[in-house]
Amino acid sequence: MSSKTLNISTSPHIIANVSTDTIMLNVVYALLPVAGFAVYSFGINALLVILTTTISAVGTEHYLCKLSKKESTVGDWSAVISGLLLGLTLPPTFPLWMAFFGGVIAIALGKFIFGGLGYNVFNPALVGRAVLQAAFPVAMTTWYPAMALDRFSSISTSVLSTPFMQPTVDVVSGATPLSAFKFDNIIADSSDMALGLISGSTGETCAVLILLGGIYLIIRKMMNWRIPVAILGTVIVLSGILYLVDPQIYPSPVFMLFSGGLMLGAIFMATDMVASPITPLGVVVYGAIIGILVVVIRIWGGLPEGVMYAILLANAISPHIDNMIRLRVYGTSKQTKHD
């Protein structure tokens, strides 16, 4: 008995059953119904776009690890999340070569350059999307109607367009509710928006499934519920006030809530743990800032949608938000500085 080797280390000797890859894998689970609905609603084109971004994100992560002679970190599932999220924020008939490029940018510039998982300042998927938005503004705002009859039978020519060629725009334009409101002042039906029977980016249309995914993660304690609550709450309050001031000019809070990428952004993008504050008060401030920016950009900005920029801006200041928050340590009356 005493001759047996027993291993040693310091306490604690037991550890909870939740590991980082478990958390990431559960986020993937929560995203799958959203992706599934995207394919159901936009057909084979959306499937190709989502697959392309996911494969390019995972491939880039793997290749960059090999290049820097590190063990591949693909197994932590975080690259899959970034790839999926990027795919879900692109228009359904987005050219695949552009989507592939976006996936590479998301991982390389959004994450790897900062030091990989845990060090990214911004949500990697949104970095990828921001670059695509800047590089290909037309393709990024070419929409495709939901539930088109031929969505499972034909692949759009723009999807398969050759790199660096101007894609032929062959789609029947299906303006998103936000652009319809912004440019034509048309308000979409809110139940259509909740159920996702509207045009938009592949994964942002079905608010119900996005919410369910978020609730799943919150119940499993794998998402900070304060972030989406703070964002959505701020949007409801601000747009509610504006709506009360003049319902003719300003959209209703319900419209604001269910249109565009707000739901997807608030639940799956802004909650990137690495790029958001860690203190309980900090995340509320962070969420409120995103909420305010979304309303301001949507209503007074030049763009129909502002979720992406709102989150990226809030990501940038989130370390500073944490620095300003003082945690009170047990047995002290003063709030102490944390920096």
Binding site: S9, T10, P12, S19, Y119, V329, H338
Partner: protein, 447 residues
């Protein structure tokens, strides 16, 4: 006794904390058993915090069970007694359970002795003055049996300018697996209450709380039936580290012990149930601290048990008494899994501070890949003293000890909740221990 007093509510608790799987069912129904005497006992002279005891016996001398074999080595030190009738075989350097080579007394057991306790006569504690009482406690070798093994007489000797208003008896036993205190409260309830009354005669607290986590309903019922006067049994929620002085004080009084201060700053004195049972036995039967209850348990222990073990018993014999452990055991611990000390070898003795021997398999002691911090915030929600372990962990990686001190790392009492919850398996509390060591060293240099 009213009906309300028979329910185990309300459940008091503190903020934050964790709830690891309890594993108490392995041994909480096993009555305390006595172990057969073994041929040899090893008694380290440092079984307590403070100066080592000074031997008063010579090699070859015969000793009786309960006879004093070493005097206190100073004020913060206690006496040591022989756990058996036997002969002093050696006084020399031997391995201590803490891994260091330290002086110890080896006693060969007298094979023909009945091992009946003859010892001292019982003393009427109520006839003693306070200083006589403190002296008696020191002579009895009593230390805190919760695990820290701080000399009890030092703790009980409250300075004139301090007043103890609340006496808190710690029966939380919040570490998973351990059940020794639970069994003591069930089987030695009368002794416990007697010990409390004796102690409170000298410290004069207005109110005595016996704090028990609600996963020990039998202990709660038993003590409620026995408690009288100003003694109240309070139910605490099952949560780790409920039994820490700071957490217990918060849960019961709703007040926080000032950072860097002592419970006594709030008029609180905390003592473990085992300590008070031992105190009562000393005054009742004159038995000094020569044995204690040890929980021998773990999922790979063949016969999990609660055993009354003579101090100085080789752990190997004790484990063998409990059927040994299976071959898939990867780690042996002294104490619980959250704060216990890992044991490399079993040829070391049970000492006064040994609360449990725990055998864990590789299934429990998971070797997980360490990831970077993903700032999930679980450690902030776990830390019972509201630190930011995530941030401290990053500072520790860079060796920024001074910044860590500014961020209150010295308040950390190393409960390990942060490391337990970390999904990235970052050794947080482990690095805080290192940091605290460096900070203390730097302070010593500056002085």
């Amino acid at each position: 006794m009213s009906a309300a007093a028979n329910t185990i509510s309300p459940q008091l608790t503190f903020q934050h904390g964790i709830h690891p799987e309890e594993f108490k069912e392995l041994s909480n129904l096993k009555p305390i058993e006595r172990m057969a005497f073994v041929p040899e006992y090893r008694l380290p002279l440092s079984q307590h915090i403070g100066a080592p005891s000074l031997p008063v016996v010579k090699v070859g001398e015969n000793v009786k069970r309960g006879q004093k074999i070493a005097d206190p080595g100073g004020y913060v030190s206690v006496a040591l007694h022989s756990p058996v009738d036997g002969t002093i075989k050696d006084i020399g350097i031997y391995t201590h359970p803490n891994g260091r080579e330290l002086p110890a007394i080896i006693i060969t057991t007298d094979a023909y002795s009945s091992q009946e306790f003859v010892g001292m006569e019982s003393v009427d504690p109520y006839s003693l003055s306070k200083s006589e009482f403190i002296q008696k406690i020191q002579d009895s070798g009593l230390v805190g049996l919760g695990g820290a093994a701080f000399p009890a007489h030092v703790k009980f000797n409250i300075q004139e300018d301090k007043k103890c208003k609340y006496l808190m008896i710690n029966g939380c036993e919040c570490e998973p697996f351990l059940t020794a205190d639970d069994r003591l409260m069930i089987e030695f309830g009368e002794e416990l209450i007697e010990g409390i009354k004796i102690l409170n005669h000298f410290i004069g607290a207005e109110k005595v709380y016996i704090a028990v986590e609600v996963n020990k309903p039998k202990a709660i019922m038993n003590l409620r039936n026995l408690a009288s006067d100003n003694i109240e049994v309070v139910c605490l929620k099952v949560k780790y580290p409920q039994g820490a002085e700071k957490m217990m004080t918060s849960a019961i009084l709703g007040k926080e012990i000032p950072a860097g201060g002592l419970p006594l700053d709030l008029g609180v004195l905390v003592s473990n149930v085992g300590t008070l049972v031992a105190l009562a036995q000393y005054f009742r039967n004159g038995i000094p601290l020569i044995e204690r209850v040890v929980t021998v348990t773990g999922t790979t222990m063949n016969r999990p048990s609660n055993v009354m073990v003579p101090v100085g018993t080789p752990m190997e014999s004790l484990v063998k008494w409990c059927g040994g452990f299976t071959s898939d055991t990867t780690r042996i611990l002294l104490g619980g899994p959250m704060m216990g000390m890992v044991q490399k070898r079993l040829d070391v003795p049970v000492v006064k501070g040994t609360s449990g021997i725990l055998a864990l398999s590789s299934e429990q002691v998971k070797e997980l890949n360490e990831y970077s911090c993903i700032r999930c915030g679980r450690c902030l929600d776990a830390c019972p003293i509201y630190l930011n372990p995530s941030h401290l962990g990053l500072l520790a990686k860079k060796g920024l000890w001074e910044e860590m001190e500014e961020n209150h790392v010295m308040d950390c009492f190393e409960c390990g909740s942060c490391s337990f919850v970390c999904p990235s398996a970052i050794p947080l509390v482990q690095s805080f221990r290192v940091a605290k060591g460096f900070i203390k060293q730097a302070k010593k240099r500056d002085v």
